[in-house]
Every structure is written in C-alpha cells, then in structure tokens.
C-alpha cells in the first residue's frame, strides 16, 4: 500500500490556464478603460437633479402620449407580422431536412447571418435615410429585424421535427408543396406562433426607442422631452412605455403558455 497521489501535469497543478485567462481579462479591462477614458469627473449634482425632476412626473402630459404609444404597438405588430410571414419560405430553404442542396442552404444562411448582424437601430437609421422620417421607416426596420430573428428560430425548429410524416408524404407521392403544407407546417405551427409572440415582445421594446431616430412611435417624444429638458415629461413617457411593455409581455406570456 504505498500508492502515491497521481501527479498532475505542471500546467494543471499550478492552474496556468486559469491565471493566463485571468491576466488577459484584466489586461483587456485596463485597455478598455484607457480607450474609453473612464474616470472623468462625475458631476453627481447634475445627475441627481435629473432624477429629482423625473420623480415629479407631469401627468398632464399623459393624454398626448397615448396615441403615439398605441402607434408604437401597431408598428411592432405590423413589423412582426411582415417579418414573420417572409421568414417562412426562407427558413424552409435553409432547413437541412427540406432542401437537400447544400449550396442553396449555405447561401441562404450566409446572407441571413449578414442581415441578422445589423443592429435594429442601425436599420432604423438606414430606413430613415432611404424612406424618410415617419412610421414607415420604423415598420421597415422592425420587419427586417423580425425577419432575421424569426428565420433563425424557425429553421432551427424545422430541423428538429419528426422526419416520419415527411417520408410518409414522399412515399405517397406528395410534391414539395404538399410535403410542406401537410408534414412540416402542422409540426411547427405551435412553435411558430410562440416565436411570433416572443418576437413581438422584443419589437415592442425596441419600437419604443426607434422614434428617437425619427422612425415613428413614442421614441420621438423621448427625444423632444429630453432635448427641451422637460424631464418631468420624460418620466411620463418612460412610465407609459413600461406599462405597455408589461401589458404586452403578460398577454403574450399567457398566450404562449396556452399554446404549449
């Protein structure tokens, strides 16, 4: 019984990897702090003055933000519906078990990855430049954004469905359209609807700030109240957004629970 404890290699015994990661992380942190010039004077009185003003909301402003708030929700719904509908055919093209041609699949995925990497505010800025100031730009930005997101969720869902019904349809001589309509869609419909609701929740949140760039909705009021230093009104706008976001979240969560 003179067994010794197994010797660990040097790298593991002294946790070399851990220390290197720790050092690198610290180095990156210090470098980032240098680049962003962290540590300038923080004028707390200015900052807290802002909070004090926000703590006394100007409720008389409430009636005038109800229409833009509703418009924000409308923008989110329209964007989600348009993006969600376009995503269906494209997601089918990218799914391994539907399209056998790898070239088509990877081209579609590559283009969609590029589209998905553009932040939505950037999309809004581009749409405002192209289409002009207004609700339509917001709807466009939200549609493209939802399209990218729905695409990813949907094609991943399609790839995990049961192959049985598809093979059965094929064996019975069904064509491509019939396979999609009778074998694929029934299997992913519930998931699809819950993705739509999930995308809607995110869109409601983001459509609230899109207006900042002139893309319609409540964000415009965020911009104007902040620029005219009416923080008491900004507080009302933010509270309004909060109420709408919570309402949509609760409704959509309830529906999603019912779906599953």
């Amino acid at each position: 019984m003179n067994q010794t404890i197994p010797k660990r290699p040097f790298i593991k015994e002294w946790h070399v990897k851990g220390y290197i990661i720790f050092l690198l992380l610290n180095f990156a942190l210090i470098l980032s702090a240098r680049i962003t010039e962290v540590g300038q004077d923080f004028s707390s009185e200015q900052f807290f003055d802002l909070f004090v003003k926000m703590a006394h909301p100007d409720w008389s402003f409430l009636p005038s933000i109800i229409t833009p708030l509703l418009q924000t929700v409308q923008m989110a719904i329209v964007g989600t519906v348009i993006g969600g509908l376009i995503a269906i055919p494209v997601a089918l093209l990218a799914a391994k078990n539907i399209v056998r041609n790898p070239f088509v699949r990877f081209t579609v995925r590559f283009i969609m990855n590029l589209i998905r990497s553009i932040p939505e505010m950037l999309l809004a800025a581009l749409f405002v430049a192209v289409v002009g100031i207004g609700v339509l730009s917001g709807v466009g930005a939200l549609s493209v954004f939802s399209f990218g997101m729905m695409f990813k969720l949907l094609y991943e869902a399609i790839e995990t469905i049961d192959q049985g019904p598809i093979e059965a349809m094929r064996a019975a001589g069904g064509n491509h359209t019939q396979i999609v309509v009778f074998a694929v869609i029934p299997q992913v419909l519930n998931q699809y609807l819950s993705f739509v609701l999930y995308t809607l929740e995110i869109n409601v949140r983001s459509s609230a700030v899109l207006g900042y760039l002139g893309a319609g909705g409540i964000g415009l009021y965020l911009n104007t109240t902040l620029e005219t230093f009416r923080y008491d009104r900004t507080a009302v706008v933010i509270l309004g957004i909060l109420v709408v976001v919570i309402l949509v979240d609760v409704l959509s969560n309830k529906t999603r629970e019912a779906l599953s």
Partner: protein
Amino acid sequence: MITRKRSLYQHIRPYLVVTLAMVIIAWAFSGIQFTGIKDSAGQILGAILSGLCHPDWSFVYSGHGEDLTSALLETLAIAFLGTIVSAIIAVPFAFWAAKVTKGFSLRSTTGKLILTIIRVFPELVLAIMFIKAVGPGAFAGVLAMGVHSIGMMGKLFSEGIENLNRGPEEAVIAAGGSRIDTLNWATLPAMVPEFINYTLYRFEIAVRSASILGIVGAGGVGAPLIFALSTRWWSRVGIILIGIIVMVTVIDWVSGAIRQNLLK
C-alpha cells in the same frame, strides 16, 4: 370507445381566437400609412448599395485616431467594460431577486422590482442622462451600458439560480456544512459556468447596442455613421456598415465557440 361531447364554446373557440388575432392585426395595419415614401428613396437606396460595393477604404486606418479601426475598438471597449463590470455587480442583485422558496417572498419581489425598474430605461435614455453627468464621450456609453446590463444580467442570473439543482446544496448541509460551505462547494461550482455563458451572450448583445450609442454622442462607431448618413457620404456609410457587420459576426462566432466549449 368514449367520445366526449364537446360544448359549443369548445367548438367555436379556435374560430374566436383566430378572429381576435385578425382583428388585432387589422387594427395594427390600419394605423400605418403605407404612403409617403420619399421620391428619392430608390435613388438613395441605389447610392447606399453602390457605397457598399465601393467602400471608402482609406477610412479603415489613417493612423491618427479618427478612423474606423479606432471607432470599432472604442465600441468593443464600451461593450466589454460595461458587460464585465455589470456582470460582477449583477451577482448580488441576482441572489436578491432569486425566488427559491414557494409562496410569497418579500425579498425576491423587491429584488425583481428593482431589476425591472433598471431595465425600463432604454440604453439611449441612460446614455443621455450620463452625458449630462460626465459629458459626451465613451465614458458615458460605458456607464449607460453597465447600468442597463445590470438589469438584464440580474434577471438572467436570478433565473439561473432558480433553476439550479438543489441536490448538491442539500448534500453539503447533510454533511454538516455551514452556509459558506454550501455556497463555496455546491452553489458556486454549479453557477459559474452558467453565469459565464449568460455574460458572453450579453456581450454579443452589448456589442450591437454599443454600435448605436454614438447616435446620442456616447462614443463608439455610431457617431461617424450618423455623420456620414447625414452628409450623404455613401462610400463612407458603406465602409462603416461593413466594419460593423464584420465586427458583430466575428464576436458572435468567437463567443459562440467559447460557449459551446463551456457547456460541454
């Protein structure tokens, strides 16, 4: 075979739901005017596309800090600093907000409420508020990103704690461990990989949002982009867009690879 007779309500319920959804969608579409596109829309779209094809390569690196490379680095720095610092601050908030017992818990309800209040403020609004305090620049962006991330990560972390397997904790308690022992030997080892996973995920999102903070003057690549857009300098818009897309794609790819390794 038993066939259950369905009530009238159960029969018509699907139709009711579909009708309701249709009404909501119709209401939404009725609020959007699909006219009013600028006459020059097609022309500008063409200009942007040609800008994407003929980007202004000279902007990539000029050597004196006013170029795309430094703007992208600044964006990454804002996202990195904001995410890492708030990941550390979010941990106590997560324990505060996590609901581990059944029934009502005052502690978890107040914690969740505070996290929700933090999350309500959009990053852009926070950025504007911090610009008032520290002046325009990347520091304001870092503060805005950090505060918003505390709300987001506090929520993710607390959900992670709630879904944790309680077995190891009970085992440590059964073996006579103190509360510190439980934290040290059961809770933290199970939690850390999950927290790192969420932090990386949040970092991916933070890179995206940091690239638009410049719109309000809080540093990063957003400012040169808005400037190029408003001066109709399409070749420059093209190169900045390419830069952002490349940066986001690379970050997503690296972070995805690390996360996959982590969860193995």
